[in-house]
Symmetry: C2
Subunit: 123 residues, 2 copies
């Protein structure tokens, strides 16, 4: 049986100035900024001092929002589980899926990468 | 000097069926549902098993989204700090402020209530 958990959230910002967006959100949330090698043009990580969540600021072309990321050791099985709860598939991007909740919010199912995944994820 | 930290997020759902919305999100995130006495018509709490964040599902009339909550021991001082970073005030509701980030997302500044606030919040 696969496992999953809330990994964190992504702050999607419709802007060409990703650094300014990350500076605002890092300052607002009291988090340091960390570059993600090879992804500097699109993503900047915010380091949660409590180590609670994985948080990134993303430059996007759609309207700004916040979206949740669910991580799983089996993305396809997790997407099927979420479809069973009422979500629908929107788009596969690289290794992750964008889904839409029955209540309308879009969110992603990504490959597990949190250090605490093995201990805290649930079947 | 006042302190603040990320308290969590609210899953705003444009729906009249708050229980169904909470059932979806609780199932999706692997979190149990907990009623908030006196607020059953508008809010249902999702209990993060890792105790990482305060999470609620809220019934709203605006389009569905996810918004972040920042908690502080001095809401007014925190709002002024965030205005200095570029946010703008949208609306005061009860004891909290709705702000809009320079990147467009709305978020709230609420009174501190997390058990870990005293230990983890930053000046």
């Amino acid at each position: 049986m696969h496992k999953s958990r809330l990994a964190g959230f992504i702050i999607d910002c419709r802007t060409d100035d990703l650094e300014a967006a990350a500076a605002f959100w890092g300052g607002a949330l009291g988090m340091k900024i960390r570059d993600l090698p090879g992804e500097e043009d699109k993503y900047i990580e915010l380091v949660d001092p409590g180590g609670r969540l994985h948080i990134e600021v993303q430059s996007v072309s759609h309207p700004s929002r916040v979206h949740l990321d669910i991580e799983s050791d089996d993305v396809e099985a997790e997407v099927r589980r979420l479809e069973g709860l009422g979500a629908r598939r929107v788009e596969k991007i690289s290794t992750w899926w964008v889904l839409e909740a029955p209540t309308g919010q879009r969110f992603c199912v990504v490959r597990a990468k949190s250090p605490a995944f093995g201990k805290e994820a649930k079947e």
